[in-house]
């Protein structure tokens, strides 16, 4: 199907998310949609999938005006979208997810259709399993099969490679090529990973600040794409400050610790961390890194083993004791678990640094907002901040005497510049001998910043290696359960 955007504008209040976009997408081609966070990629795609309407302009399908589009109507017209966070039903079975909103069939035929499609694309899904038991990659495969079953002609993939294994990624790419070539489907691949776009796409569309800045044919020049995405001022490759050497001594020790989580148990973790050391945690979502961070924060119970901070045993102690010992945890759900959405910046600072004990050796709110360049007033609520500003606020709220920082996806959802700022601050902390553990879905980030890399697979710690001893490719393999454990 031929898709045409004609002079698309979209405003959210004063924010102009899309400005005058004109674009034609032909069938049988794979398009890459590039742009940094907030460039308007998602908005444009959400309009195509019927989740929101343009403020001005129109979308044409095969020359016909698609007015009053909603998600189910868009799907009926043949536009399917694979969302970054799968839009499925975790509590229901795989086959039930496949059935919902699909062609009317009885259970037997639904099952056989699911199996047939799964075999065609070499996806192995057990129909009776609950979707909550699947990996992100498998959930994506299930959604993909469902959309194909509905006969979509335009397939939008929104950052599909975050959180899936290398094998799953390769399978996904093969499937995409197959669909474009053999079936004449239009594929739109939304991403900010240049290498993947270069690998998969025949054409690339670059958005910056809501405007379409380029539409290029393959082969692409990485430098040119970066310049288009970020403008001249960034150049895209700003250097990170050097990480310092970790200090001496073993500040934290875990001995055969078994951690109990909500969904699973992480067995037999033994680990030593030195002051100022930075450990990157790699693994697919739900592989165990979440639980290790929570266990170290005192939020998950240790059923066995010993957790020693500074020579003192901490297993079985309450969270508050961990906090008092100088351990600070920043969860991935920044707004939901890290901040109080409806409290103001001022209130956040006062809660974090109560003015007791006479003096205050920590930040005053005004200072904090200025020093961390948070775009907001004292009275702004946390909810109203952008993702980058929320993360900066969280960083500002870390007490000065913190000895161990635990971060989940420190730069997820942040654009290049904001991510850089976060790391500048974190590395500064580490120079003052704060140890740092962080998890990330971005292996390049792990490679760039850690002294040591911990790799998790299947709810186990499978590798603990110094940074120089492992390549990004090898990390990817270990995360997917391939290769030997070291």
């Amino acid at each position: 199907m031929r898709v045409e955007f004609q002079d698309i504008h979209k405003d959210y209040g004063r924010v102009r998310a899309n400005v005058g976009i004109n674009l034609v997408l032909e069938p049988g081609r794979i398009y890459g949609l590039l742009g940094e966070n907030g460039a308007g990629k998602s908005t444009l795609m959400r309009m195509l999938a019927g989740h929101t309407q343009p403020s001005r302009g129109r979308v044409l399908f095969n020359g016909k005006n698609a007015e009053g589009l909603n998600p189910s109507r868009a799907l009926a017209m043949g536009v399917g979208m694979l969302y970054q966070d799968p839009m499925d039903f975790p509590a229901l079975d795989v086959w039930e997810n496949f059935r919902l909103g699909g062609t009317k069939r009885d259970k037997k035929r639904t099952l056989s259709r699911l199996q047939e499609l799964g075999e065609r694309f070499h996806f192995r899904l057990s129909p009776q399993e609950k979707v909550s038991e699947l990996t992100v990659g498998e959930r994506q495969q299930l959604e993909l099969l469902r959309l194909l079953d509905l006969g979509v002609k335009v397939l939008i993939l929104d950052e599909p490679t975050t959180g899936i294994s290398v094998t799953q990624k390769e399978m996904l790419f093969t499937t995409m090529r197959q669909l474009a070539r053999d079936k004449g489907r239009t594929i739109i691949f939304v991403s900010h990973k240049l290498t993947e776009v270069e690998e998969l796409c025949q054409e690339v569309i670059v958005l910056r600040q809501g405007r379409l800045v380029a539409k290029l044919q393959s082969p692409f020049q990485s430098d040119e794409l970066l310049k288009l995405m970020f403008g001249d001022e960034h150049g895209g490759t700003a250097e990170c400050p050097e990480r310092s050497q970790p200090g001496e001594g073993e500040f934290i020790q875990l001995e055969d610790v078994q951690l109990l989580g909500d969904k699973y148990i992480l067995p037999d973790i033994s680990l030593q961390i030195r002051p100022g050391e930075i450990l990157g945690l790699a693994g697919l979502e739900g592989s165990g890194q979440e639980l290790l961070l929570r266990g170290l924060a005192g939020l998950a119970r240790a059923a066995k083993g010993r957790i020693i901070f500074d020579g003192e045993e901490f297993q079985g102690r309450p969270y508050l004791k961990f906090r008092q010992a100088g351990i600070h945890f920043l969860p991935a759900a920044r707004l939901e678990h890290g901040l109080f959405p409806d409290l103001s910046l001022n209130e956040h600072f006062h809660l974090a640094f109560p003015p007791r004990n006479g003096g205050r050796d920590n930040l005053l709110p005004e200072e904090g907002i200025r020093k961390f360049s948070i775009q907001g007033q004292l009275t702004t609520s946390a909810r109203a901040l952008s993702g980058g500003n929320q993360q900066r606020l969280l960083l500002a709220l870390i007490p000065a005497q913190t000895k161990l920082l635990l971060l989940e996806h420190p730069t997820r959802g942040l654009d290049h510049g904001a991510g850089q700022q976060v790391w500048n601050h974190l590395l500064g902390r580490c120079r003052q001998n704060t140890a740092l553990l962080f998890s990330s879905a971005d292996l390049d980030e792990i490679k760039a910043h850690s002294h040591r890399v911990l790799i998790f697979y299947n709810r186990q710690l499978v590798a603990d290696l110094p940074n120089h001893a492992i390549s990004v490719e090898e990390m990817g393999r270990l995360m997917a359960g391939q290769g030997r454990a070291v």
């Binding site: 989740h51 998600p71 839009m87 509590a91 229901l92 919902l100 909103g101 259970k107 109990l260 059923a303």
Partner: protein, 327 residues
Amino acid sequence: MDFLALTLAGILSAGAPLVLATLGETLTERAGVINLSLDGTILLAAMTAFALAFVSGNPWLGLVGSIAVGMATAAIVVLIGPVLGRSQLAVGFILTLLCRDLAYFLGHPYARQFGPELPVWSIPGIRDLPFIGPILGYQSPVVYLSLGLTVFLWWWLFSTRAGLELRAVGEEPWAAFARGIKVQRLRIMYTLLGGALVGLAGGAFSLAVKPGWGRPQGAEGAGWIALAIVIFGGWHPLRAALGAYLFATLQVLGIYLQEQFPGLPAPLFQVAPFPVMILTLLLVNVGSTGWFQELAFRYPGMKRWLSRWQVTAPAALGQDFRPERET
């Protein structure tokens, strides 16, 4: 033997209204709406049913009236909650109090009167069977209805496409919307339907199980217990019915034990079912405790069996859904 059969028959009968109310609320909550007004609705429906039957002489008309009352209160919950996007809990709570007082006030002229009751059906074929006969052979129609509905709704919820859509709406309304399911319409429909069953529970009380109207009627508190059993039953019709019968068993047991131990104060036996119910609730929810998970970890073979004990509420329970609001 006869004694046991009669006791079981008594439990089936005493549990019937509770089963109906629990099934109704299970439907409502599966759609993602909480109708908290059960206790008041049941009383108002019971009063309406009895008054209508008393005036018209026809108990079936009374039963229809009770359904109408249940749907009417559910309609108010729907209007304030899903339609206008205000607090479902607040409106439910106020309705509870309002309906109860309304029932006592409007029902005053009919208190302690003799009125018609639903007939007892005797089922040919079943009534002559040994043991089963006395249990299932002679029962009120509401008992047969409660049994039939339990099985029907179980099948409906887990084996039909419509049931799947209902569960989808209560779990992830946005995902359901994206798949072309009419979320708002289903929520309204199932809340009204659930309300109808709750109303029916009231009619079952005043026309069959605890016939007549008075202050107290005897159905007081049933709505709250039903709300608890919905959770206890993990939003599953069979388990919910089981919970309702368990509570009925405890009540019947209380009556027997009271006869056995005349020395003990009577309120003890009336109150005992409630703490026992709390203990059961605790037991049923062990699935989410740490040691239970450790068990599953140590013996993976038991995982499937153990996971049945894990009860999770519909993910979008009580949440607002308005497709026109952009995120």
